[in-house]
Amino acid sequence: MTETMNIEDYLAKGGVLTAPGNAPARYRGELMRLMSSFVDSELAGSAGFANAINFAPGIKERIAASRITLEKADHAGRVLEVMADFGTDMARYQAQHQWDARVARDADLGTTRQSGDMRLSVLHYPITGWTDAVVMNVLQGLATDVQMTELTRVSYGPLAEVFRQIAPREKRHAELGLEGLERIVATEAGKREAVKAIAYWRPRVAAGFGMAHSGRFETLKKFGLRHATNEDLLARWQNLTGGHLAALGL
């Protein structure tokens, strides 16, 4: 039982890697990129949502926004710990970008990331009020829910485990958003505002699924870091979002 196989073949067959020492250079790079993107997005998301706490109309909403702010930062920390196993300096990493920095509301970033900051482009846009925050959280929360089906089965075992702990809490964030949105659409004025916010956020969240026919996908798939294509994930999100919004009459 001592025969081994090429690590790329092992990964292509669904193998799991368990330590930085197992990871070939290119794999390590792609894995770091994936983790950076998640950590930066959670930190930027948390920083953005911190403002939403003060937009909250009541105590219940204030607590929901605080919880999302807190837990997204916590999730960033958990993934950053896995990065630290690969030599990332945690103290330096978490201070390298200004996580609450935002571009102008009408800027058009498309799908591109901004310099070294690996956050999803949607997290560069500013939140302007409570309804705006809730809608953004619902749409991006459902997107995270879809992305988690990929992340919880990445081939780097210790990271997949962290994502499996995170996934139900991220799901709860989207649910909190849906509960908030339900209260907002109870009035006609609220509904009108929600419709406007959906029009703003929907294409920006969709951009976060990346480009169709991404050249990187095949590499990531071979490494077991991705399983479903950007197109598939986007379609699932559109479906999921359509269903939830329709249920609220939106």
């Binding site: 799991v16 368990t18 197992n22 290119r26 770091m32």
Partner: protein
């Protein structure tokens, strides 16, 4: 960042013809750093003819043994494992990083859990640490081990496993699968394949009620066992993997070029700015990246993947010329603007000036 610390070798015990068990003691000041969790490994480093090798070996001791112990099986052509098997002696010192790895589950003294372990060859080392710790710290839990080896005399920790069976009567079971030796039960002869997994679950192991399964061995065995476990109803969250030590890509670094060995005309005068402070130093034009040179000159330069992907180490070239070996991170316009990944950047000109601050 984790650093290397010296450990004193206090005992070297021959376990099989080609495996030793090495007991190590940290100095008093590092004792806490080397407090381990069952299933973790140590990474050692040693110079072999000027080339640094790093190798990881799993801890085989349980949490309650009060000792740090690793099993090292000799791998054909393996410089480190051969050296450990043939030359390592009590009294020697060896450098290691603090324990790492997440091959474990949280223990609960009140829990009555059922664990499965699958180990092949030296893959037993972390599993043994887990078995000993679980049996001692979760008095109501049970553990069943399926342990694959070529033949009887290559089984590591055979006696220790027998002792554990007697010590924890009824709570610990071992099934030896031997590749080249016939046994009374046919199922226990040969390699672990899909058929054998099905046979084990049919006659010997109750898949239902298993809380966690641990697998440690070479790649094909891990794939087969994981698939077998999934086929019998275990979820991914219930399966813990540890690829064993021989599956480490060669970590021998490119030969380090000594700073003293830089010949006139072949070196580069580097000026690096980081966090507002600027330093000047000489670096070779080959064999060392700007990042490594900056770190070697006591600058706390940022980096993460060192593979040209994550862009943590990005810096801007203000003067001179550099070449990147790999770039998966920077866009064309960034490269045109003078940005490079310092982990991949080698100087081409006699003088380079770079900054991490822009």
């Amino acid at each position: 960042m984790a650093r290397f610390h010296p450990l004193k070798v206090t005992d070297v015990r021959r376990e099989t013809r080609d495996a030793v068990v090495v007991t190590l003691a940290p100095s008093d000041e590092h004792r806490e750093l080397f407090d381990f969790t069952q299933g973790q490994y140590l990474t050692f480093r040693r110079d072999f003819d000027g080339e640094e090798l790093r190798r990881s070996y799993s801890i085989c001791a349980g949490k309650d043994e009060g000792a740090l112990r690793v099993g090292i099986k000799r791998v054909d052509g393996g410089a480190f494992s051969t050296w450990a098997n043939e030359n390592l002696q009590p009294g020697d010192e060896i450098e290691a990083m603090p324990p790492m790895g997440r091959f474990s589950t949280a223990l609960d003294p009140d829990a009555a859990r059922t664990y499965l372990g699958f180990a092949a060859g030296s893959g037993i080392t972390p599993v043994l640490s887990i078995i000993k710790t679980v049996l001692a710290r979760e008095p109501k839990s049970r553990f069943t081990l399926v342990y694959a080896n070529r033949q009887i005399n290559s089984i590591m920790f055979r006696e220790e496993l027998e002792d554990l069976k007697n010590l924890y009567l009824g709570r610990f079971a071992v099934m030896h699968i031997l590749e080249t030796e016939g046994q009374e039960i046919d199922l226990f002869t040969g390699r672990i394949d899909a058929e054998k997994m099905a046979g084990l679950f049919k006659h010997w192991i109750e898949a239902e009620g298993v809380d966690t399964a641990f697998i440690c061995g070479p790649e094909p065995m891990m794939l087969t066992v994981a698939q077998g476990l999934r086929d019998h109803g275990l979820g991914d969250e219930q399966i813990k993997f540890e690829l064993f030590a021989s599956s480490q890509p060669g970590r021998a670094k490119a030969k380090a070029v000594s700073r003293d060995a830089v010949e006139p005309g072949s070196g580069t005068e580097a000026t690096v700015t980081l966090d507002g402070a600027t330093r000047n130093f000489q670096m070779p034009r080959q064999g060392e990246t700007i990042l490594d040179a900056a770190i070697a000159n006591s600058m706390d330069a940022p980096y993460s993947c060192k593979a040209g992907v994550c862009s943590t180490c990005r810096c801007k070239v203000l003067e001179g010329e550099v070449e990147m070996a790999v770039n998966h991170a920077l866009e064309d316009y960034e490269v045109r603007a003078g940005y490079v990944l310092s982990c991949q950047a080698y100087p081409l000109s006699e003088r380079v000036v770079v900054t991490y601050d822009e």
